[in-house]
Symmetry: D2
Subunit: 337 residues, 4 copies
């Protein structure tokens, strides 16, 4: 039974705590820490059987009974806490992105050198049933050599403008999942990026220096082409689709809905909208990614999303931002690392 | 070039005249007759290049240059005109049903004995792209041995009450197509029928002695079970579906629509309704059935829908009516013929 | 916090124990009993935090700290244990069917008279997301007055022949869910039944006196017609669909699959098969039905599936069997109760 | 009755001749010319009732009884024949593209100045039922302001390499339809283009200096973004889809198939492939575009696809080629015209 400490008791920290408690057989949450820890959260933790509840995550790092930590704190703290945890010899599951700052990611990579610590990055969508099905079909050769990858990723509603101001920009906070998805579905790296972006949803986003609508094209190392389209606001809900087209055919996935019900009336033939929110849509994936992290520790095998998988989407996002700023395609090799 | 005479210039006669002119290479409409022939219809016929336009169909039967006739007159005249045409040595394509009166059908069968005349019945739905696809999948063994056949057949709107009074009842005027479909899809005869019927659409239909909503189950000679559900009025349009389930799987077809467009908004995910009217839905099948009739004449091969195929659905309809009246399953062998 | 005792630690008893532990906030499993209780099951129970583990369910009934019991034992014991539990003043959730014997159900009804015990029957499919969506659309008047109900219910594989011999027949062990579904979707009772059944899947089922393929039609108290088609074996998986057609339109649900992936190649355009097994397909419904049972106790409200809801499908199944045996439609009023 | 002369009796000339004869009420084909006119084609024409059959299209231009011409000759002759026809005061329907040479298009535009001749360009896909449904939904405001347009256009098989060498490149011979579609669906012009292209289908295409796989992104005058993905070879057939996403939602169309049949077996749930060939897929659109041309002449109204609509996609294709060659986004204003 692996003992896990969760650092950060915000939305995603709570999701992980509950899914470990209820769905993961070989691990338990032994401790949780959050600088804003309060009575309600303490009570919630106790009800889950988590008895060690702290304000300071360092309590977790110095607890020898803890085998691994999940870093669910604010993005700007991910890298530093990762390094501390590695030094404390804890296995690390770090929410994405590791950092908006490439130098920080490099520091984490340095810290990992020579350590036996497992380090996994939280790209949960790789463990979604739909995207796994695409990945598996491609990996099994069902579509032949990959020629074209298409990802549609649209949020149901734009985030608060305060969040937009500190998120690092849409490419780093939202598209980063899609950049990872391109790599996951094709097993290939991105070589060049060209980004078209604009602000059509909310002018305040433009004022904050960001875009809310984008089409990003990429050249991949395996010769294939990829395209992502993003919007901060799809009125019909959370739109999460992917297609991979290759020499033998295509595999595509569409959205999940709350039921298969279709109502036919004189008004038309109407089905359910996509599931609206990422927690509904991706809940099972949060449990699966941590389950695989636990298994990688127990069996001493490779984690499914390693630190390079955490680095690459940040590099792509930086290249996309540079492309948008300079109005030209940008090679990943132009991004200093 | 086969010369065809069309008897009856109502809706279906006109459909056939146009489709022969425009779509059938080896035949032409040489003459058309209708007791109600007027100036407008004459002008329409002349524009199609049909120069022989009559009030009396006997003019067609005595014209030696005519090879075949299409009998598109009112149902009660089908059998007698068929017999006259057979005697005049014309090949006959007769709209369904041959007759509501089994004795009349027997007379036509007698007339055919010893003649070389081709006789085809107008069960056009056999030539619809969707139902053909089901038939072909079943015939190719893709679903294995047939276990269950399900047909949904619902009209977009109830016919005028004056029509209901003379149609012979819903089973004879509407379900007859579905009875034929059961035989076509399974290549098996019907042995026993049980009909549940009621009047839920329009009470005037009940007053006219008919039903407007029905579920009819059947036992087939090959051991399979079949079910048809009918309604005189589906608010969303013309609902025409079929499923055949067997030892290896299932084949199913759904409705055609005017486009594949799907609109996703905060209201839902809405596609097009089924095509509303039988002429839209089945237009291509009218051309195809006559084309195959023409080929059967030219090549002297079997017609695809013979007189027994015309008889059986009438027998099933009679059994269904008897079942409804007597509240019990009725064997086809109980229907005197 | 409600204390629940589970009687029967077979497959469904275990499903309930786990779903209560992990998903139901206001209840806990305090005890479990099974005459075949062994070390493995005891260890499984202890891991779930269930400390009271018995061979004899009577230990549960005499434990004053237990508020409610789930009866998950073999079908033939449901009624007697229900009566004992009612007398012991425990709320009862009883798996379906209450009994194959109508007299036994009557005894349970008698026992309930004057008691304050909540009694719920385990028709879990009512709590499936798809069927709930149909029910809700119908209840909201989206399809108008109900005219036709169609249910397709096919198992992925026939049960062992030993089970067939004691199950009470397909109508009582399998179709019973579909009979309940007709009532749930329409909020109407069944008045008359006609059953067509045959043996096409496995001749050993015929030898055991049962059928494996059936089409059952029904007349409902509200004037609508219903039809169920059943097979013990659909090669493509567990086929669970429903349609309700009414004066304003139709609502239909189809199967769930493990992903939305569609692969297009020169071979065709291929999607996933339906989920294969009832535990995959209906898992969430098991948790939801018990959750509502718990809420009904806590809030002292009506249970969502009461004893009459448990009785009616047994009456319909008996009528269907009589119809099959006698080859005629059978009124529910013919079944002595 | 409008008299039409068809210039060019190749595949598309024949399609138009047959569709005018069979489907267009207010026009007839009075003459046809082709330098390669032979006995078979003459006989085909005569059977359609076309009596004037020429080698030299000038015979048509000097025939005063001819009201309009359809220019279906080889692409390099479109512009010059258009100019001659305009001078001869014939209305002109010109197949796309008007020319690969912008100077030639300018000459046609000059010739049109001051003339009363109707001039329509053959972008038939605007008249396809699916794309019309998208256009109409967008025009009706159902998706609000347009934010993102996505077009997938993949041929079932690459053209012969001899064709590739003279086609002007994939952007001019294939993507040109998609460039037009972007304008048609959005009612907006393209301002900037960025093209990613590569050769993954057939290396001989690369040797011929062309690409066979491309993703092209565009900025539109209305602020929206667009993307087209192309392949010369989709193993599953002709893939022709479009999506328009806007402030209120999305409208999307997928492919047509030969039937709605879905076969479910232990192998999967398999539907039909897309219609394989452009003549199957778009046949009705060829008739509709000419019908609207005829109506524009008769009623003296605007043609639905005017010479600017013919020019713009050529400008976009030129910009896309320049983008591909120079590896940067190219403004349409950079293309000298």
């Amino acid at each position: 039974m692996l003992n896990i400490g969760i650092i950060g008791a915000g939305r995603i920290g709570k999701v992980h705590a509950e899914s470990i408690t209820y769905h993961i057989k070989d691990a338990q949450v032994a401790a949780i820490a959050d600088p804003l820890m309060n009575e309600a959260t303490t009570s919630w933790a106790n009800n889950l059987g988590i008895n060690k509840v702290y304000h300071d995550y360092k309590e977790i790092l110095k607890d020898d009974s803890i085998d691994a930590v999940l870093i669910c704190s604010s993005t700007d703290t991910h890298a530093d806490i990762s390094i501390e945890a590695i030094k404390a010899n804890k296995h690390v599951f770090c929410e994405k992105p590791i950092s908006q700052d490439l130098a920080k990611i490099k520091e984490v990579m340095e810290a990992l050198k020579g350590s036996n610590v497992k380090f996994q990055v939280g790209f949960n969508r790789r463990f979604d049933h739909n995207f796994e099905a695409v990945h598996n079909a491609v990996a099994a050769g069902k579509v032949g050599d990959v020629h074209i990858v298409k990802i549609t990723s649209r949020d149901p509603a734009a985030p608060p403008i305060e969040y937009v101001k500190v998120s690092g920009g849409m490419f780093l906070d939202m598209t980063i999942h899609d950049f990872d998805m391109v790599r996951y579905l094709t097993a290939s790296d991105v070589v060049e990026v060209y980004a078209n972006g604009t602000c059509l949803v909310n002018p305040a986003i433009k004022d904050a220096g960001d875009v809310d609508t984008a089409i990003i094209t990429m050249k991949l190392a395996n010769g294939a082409l990829a395209v992502i389209d993003n919007s901060r606001k799809a009125d019909y809900g959370y739109d999460q689709r992917a297609e991979v087209f290759g020499s033998k055919g295509q595999v595509a996935v569409t959205n999940d809905a709350s039921s298969t019900a279709v109502i036919s009336t004189s008004e038309g033939v109407t089905g359910e909208k996509p599931l609206y929110f990422f927690l509904e849509r991706y809940m099972a994936s949060f449990s699966k990614e941590v389950s695989l992290f636990v298994q990688a520790i127990i069996k001493n095998t490779e984690v499914p999303v390693n630190i390079n998988d955490g680095l690459q989407p940040v590099l792509i996002a930086k290249a996309a931002k540079k492309s948008l700023d300079e109005g030209r395609p940008v090679l990943l090799s132009e991004i200093a690392f």
